[in-house]
């Protein structure tokens, strides 16, 4: 009996030894430590244990750095309150997994007696789930301490599954699960490159927003993923799957800052139409229309700036002022040319998130569009700027345009405002919740603008301007690269994502080409030590 256990443990240890070697190999370095986001956590649990396992708990928020919250996963840690929550969730999930209702499906072996320790079965279960949760095999020591805990707990409770629950719980609250460790090992030419498990992890969270599946882990384990052919095979597989939509949904949510809705409010006195579900609907419209273009139609991403096609539901239709006679929830809609609508720029989400509770804000919209679409963040204004003349609504300057144009006259203001205000002013045909309007304080709204020497009119003019700007595709590439690697997009070098951008351009700006171009670039998995050091 003991011999059997020893043999079993030996084989497991041999498995574990793979990762141990990587870690102890001289010159290996952890080049990324990325806290799982809430969605990544939930999706990982669902994929490892099944959707029927409930996950209930609070997650600490991320912080936007360089326009992306993904960058903060590389910088934040876990506070005591955060860990307390993870600890409770871990126990809760483990309890469900070993419960009578789930154990047949989820526990691959049966103990000889349900009332006594069975190290062989405990080892089997913990190695299996440990591998999936840590995204690499457990080391001998990691396994040993947990099998010992299961044995102890089984003995004192008289219940194998109770013991197993606690072993499982230790895996679920370990930093090896909660953080994605990106491990780099020495590679050809004196560089460091990500080990295969780290590659699998990075690919999977980018493409599917979840933990690497069995096939991806196997290709990491065998080393196939480290070969160009092996990589391409997995990349094609991941991209062909409908799950790519989940990954890209997470990317667009981050890039378009859709979580801004969580912290803005609208004044219900002025805008009674704006109710609770509106924010969620607006987010959903943006995601659906972007994904439809990017993945379903495999279209030119620049269309986002000009298209009049979108998908809306009944609540959004009421703000857009269009009829809605569809049986399902989400219907494709094409705005008429007279509507003045132009792609993402005039979706309720963008117009509402970057405005005040009671009025629109050309400056906020301009700042947001510059940062989101052109990767041009705006510096903070000088401390003692005097807004009063510029924003007195009862004075002779009636529209916000007239008030903002006063900035153009002042050199300290104009350097930034000339790059920001024209964007917002061209969008002034839409109020703070995204509804169309023609007049402000009785005056007709003038939506003409000049940006970088080019003049245009209204949102359509702005859309065409952005459509033709090379900064937009470059920004998309920069943001996707930064998102994939948890980097501050403002500090990433052009060279880092050039491969992806070239592929993007060559393909006619198809997102799929960008994704593939980025991840198959030979530089993608080389450890960006400089970038990592910069993030510190």
């Amino acid at each position: 009996m003991r011999a059997k256990i020893i043999i079993l443990l030996a084989s497991v240890v041999a498995c574990g030894a793979v990762a141990a070697t990587a870690l102890e190999a001289s010159g290996s370095q952890v080049v990324g430590l990325r806290r799982l986001t809430e969605n990544e956590y939930r999706n990982s649990i669902a994929d490892i244990f099944g959707k029927q396992i409930k996950v209930q708990g609070t997650f600490e928020p991320g912080i936007r750095i360089g326009g992306l919250t993904a960058a903060s996963t590389a910088v934040l840690s876990i506070t005591p309150g955060g860990f307390e929550s993870y600890s409770k969730m871990a126990d809760n999930i483990a309890t469900q997994v070993v419960s009578e209702g789930h154990r047949k499906q989820l526990i691959s072996c049966q103990p000889k007696s349900a009332k006594a320790p069975d190290d062989a079965c405990a080892t089997q279960v913990l190695s299996h789930y440990g591998f999936q949760l840590f995204r690499r095999p457990l080391t001998a020591e990691e396994l040993r301490s947990r099998v010992a805990l299961v044995r102890t707990m089984t003995k004192s409770s008289g219940d194998f599954y109770a013991g197993l629950r606690y072993g499982m719980a230790t895996l679920l609250q370990s930093p090896e699960f909660l953080f994605r460790k990106e491990m780099a090992i020495p590679a050809a030419g004196g560089t460091l490159a990500l080990d295969t498990y780290s590659r699998a992890t990075r690919l999977s969270y980018l493409m599917w927003d979840t933990t690497p599946d069995a096939e991806l882990l196997a290709s990491a384990q065998s080393g196939e993923l480290a070969t160009p052919a092996g990589l391409e095979k997995q990349v094609d597989r991941l991209m062909a799957s409908p799950r790519l939509e989940v990954g890209m949904r997470a990317f667009f949510t981050d890039m378009f800052m859709l979580d801004t809705f969580n912290v803005i409010s609208k004044d219900s006195l002025f805008y009674p139409k704006w109710a609770g579900p509106m924010a969620a609907a607006a987010q959903e419209e943006t995601l659906r229309s972007a994904l439809d273009l990017a993945l379903t139609k495999n279209g030119d991403m620049r269309e986002l700036m000009v298209t009049r096609k979108t998908l809306i539901n009944r609540s959004l239709a009421s703000i857009y002022g269009v009829p809605f006679s569809f049986n399902g929830e989400w219907a494709p809609h094409e705005f008429s040319p007279e509507s003045g609508r132009s792609g993402l720029l005039t979706q309720i989400s963008m117009l509402a998130m970057f405005s005040h509770p009671g009025r629109s804000s050309p400056t906020k919209r301009g700042v947001a569009m510059n940062e989101i679409l052109l990767c041009e963040p705006t510096p903070t204004p000088p401390n003692n700027v005097d807004f009063s003349e510029v924003n007195d609504e009862t004075g002779p300057l009636k529209t916000v345009r007239e008030r903002l144009m006063a900035h153009a006259a002042d050199k300290t203001c104009s350097s930034c405002h000339n790059a920001v205000d024209p964007i917002g002013l061209s969008l002034e045909g839409f109020d703070t919740i995204g509804g169309r309007r023609e007049r402000e304080n009785g005056e007709m709204i003038d939506v003409s603008a000049t940006l970088a020497g080019k003049s245009f009119h209204g949102a359509e003019g702005l859309g065409k301007f952005l459509y033709n700007s090379p900064k937009f595709p470059s920004c998309v590439a920069r943001k996707l690269y930064s998102y994939a690697n948890g980097l501050n997009s403002e500090e990433v070098e052009n060279a880092a994502f050039k491969g992806g951008l070239d592929a993007f351009q060559k393909s006619g700006y198809r997102l799929r080409a960008l994704i593939k171009g980025l991840v198959t670039d030979p530089k993608f998995f080389t450890a960006s030590m400089e970038a990592h050091a910069k993030a510190e």
Binding site: L23, E24, S28, Q29, V30, V31, L33, E60, P61, I63, S72, V75, L76, S77, I78, T79, P80, G82, F83, S87, E142, S145, R146, L149, T152, M153, K155, S156, S157, G158, Y166, A169, T170, Q173, S174, P175, E176, N262, V263, S265, D267, S268, L269, F270, H356, P357, G358, R359, T380, N383, V385, D386, F387, S388, V390, N391, D392, H532, A533, E536
Partner: protein, 445 residues
Amino acid sequence: MKLDRRFLLRGMFHGSAATMMVPFLDCFLDSKGKALAATGQKVPTRFNTFFFGCGLTKQLWVPKTAGQNYETTSQLKPLEAYKSKLNVFSGLRIPFDDNPNYQHWSGVAAAATGISPTKNGQFDSKTIDQQIADVISRGARYKSVAAAASGNPKESYSSLGGLNTLPPETTPLALYTRLFGPGFQDPSSGNWKPDPAIMVQQSVLSVVADDRKRAMMNLGASDKARMDQYFTSVREVELQMATQLQRPELTAKVAIPPAPTNDMLVNNALPNIRKVVPLMSKLGAIALATDQTRVFNLSVSEPASQIFIPGDSLGYHQSTHEEPIDPVLGYQPRVAQYNVHSMELFAMLLGELDGIQEGDGTLLDHSLVYAFTDQSFAKIHAVDGLPILVAGGASGRMKGGFHVAGDNSTVSRVGLTVQKAMGMSIDSWGINSMETKSPFTELLA
């Protein structure tokens, strides 16, 4: 044989509530007779912070007289009922040295850490509430608790330093659940026994903590610090569990309220904030009274306050920049209105703390409340004369009723005074030009 914790805990799961040979846990079980009695136990001094964005209006809040007989100005009127338990500080400044004055940030960070921040949005050290919690919170269930009345999870000015703020509870229900939901042990219930499930969880945490060495391998400096923070958090939860294995010490003359309803709207609209603040304050006060925590942090807005009065299309922050200064009054009238609301919200917190009787006084008498903001004059992002208010008696160590007219000395003097009143053995606070060794001794009893 080494007596490690797991060895000792082995026999206890589902077993008898037996004695444990771990030093800091004596036997508090009824069978042993004299349990740690609640009466006669000295009540700990508690610490609170209250954050409100966009400051006050100098002409309307700073009393002309200094010292204890100052006149109640119009913006301090909402706090009149607590005047004898309140100290207000004017005329203090923030010497920046080489650091910029980050808009809506430097004031916050300087007041909270005594250090003018080198990066926008970051604290250069632990904030004052955490520094105090490190000393006073041992024995309470939670080291500290934070709440944000606007519902924004990013509005927390309680931090371990850097970017990591301690996340606030963002609705009254969430705060209630944290404090009085699962895991709450009512100190006044007669049948208390240590929960064996907690001992089990300690064993689980032990295994997690054992992985520390390997987890830290081959990490760069900042990742090491982050991993270290993770393990510190594990340790804190272990300590929390150890506390829960002891009979709760305090009896408080408070009833635990029923859970708030789930449908309370929590956002930046002022009427909603005015409903949420008293509720969160009440829950916080009861938590302090029942030793769920000894440090409670309440924030009503972000520094560039997004609070708005429905019907005011500008809102608070935009008003501070865009409302003209009235040529006759010499200040911004609408902004001044918003300022007064901030003081009324502060009064709500003080009211809840003062409303709980504790021994020979109230919870407020046994606390300090440190109220701070981001700007002295939000229009131009000035911080000179940053308003700070400190309420509470610190269990007799802090006198009240003063207007301290600071002489352009550094704002960190208040933080130093506060920590001394809390009983911390600290001689100086702050760094570089903000370093101070001079508390306001006239306030210290």
